[in-house]
Amino acid sequence: DAGITQSPRHKVTETGTPVTLRCHQTENHRYMYWYRQDPGHGLRLIHYSYGVKDTDKGEVSDGYSVSRSKTEDFLLTLESATSSQTSVYFCAISVSPPGQGHGEQFFGPGTRLTVL
């Protein structure tokens, strides 16, 4: 699992509450990603980071923000959770051998979020 952990693993919250999900890596990789997985949609990229304090939007970024103050931590925040954000959230890192461009991604175990 390339030393990737996610917390919490499960969370139930109510509409309108803020929620923060944490992704932690132990191997000092530069690129990190947040995806959501929903039935019929596969995985969709929410936000990604290419370094400390360097982040950018993905395909489905509305309603989400991210922060990366340290190389090892990438936080995903739902400022005001909605039922449409009920999903399974995966964090990933990109393993980029020098000079070979981007390669495979390693995924964390996922966080199952339910917004009531």
Binding site: Y31, L45, G101
Partner: protein, 114 residues
């Protein structure tokens, strides 16, 4: 929008048979990757094929890439019950500013019956 479209959506076979899954994509790519996901778990990388490669093997896996047709196939030979999982293709799109962003297909659910 989905870059990768996978076919079939679901596949059920007997142990020992071969399983073939197909993936089509829309734009030019740097590479195409296949991942496996067991129920309730994260994705696991299986194989990566670059845009200048046509075929790649890894154990019982064989991946082909046809950039003229913008399609790829994953063949699992001599399937086992443990191969039961969902399989996803993902593309690293050319011109993505070397960010490594992947676009995933919706996946093929494979069931291998003992």
């Amino acid at each position: 929008s989905q870059q990768g479209e996978e076919d079939p959506q679901a596949l059920s076979i007997q142990e020992g048979e071969n399983a073939t899954m197909n993936c089509s994509y829309k734009t030019s790519i740097n590479n195409l990757q296949w991942y496996r996901q067991n129920s309730g778990r994260g994705l696991v990388h299986l194989i990566l094929i670059r845009s200048n490669e046509r075929e790649k093997h890894s154990g019982r896996l064989r991946v082909t890439l046809d950039t003229s047709k913008k399609s790829s196939s994953l063949l699992i030979t001599a399937s086992r019950a443990a191969d039961t999982a969902s399989y996803f293709c993902a593309t690293d799109t050319y011109g993505s500013s070397n960010t490594g962003k992947l676009i995933f297909g919706q996946g093929t659910t494979l069931q291998v019956k003992p």
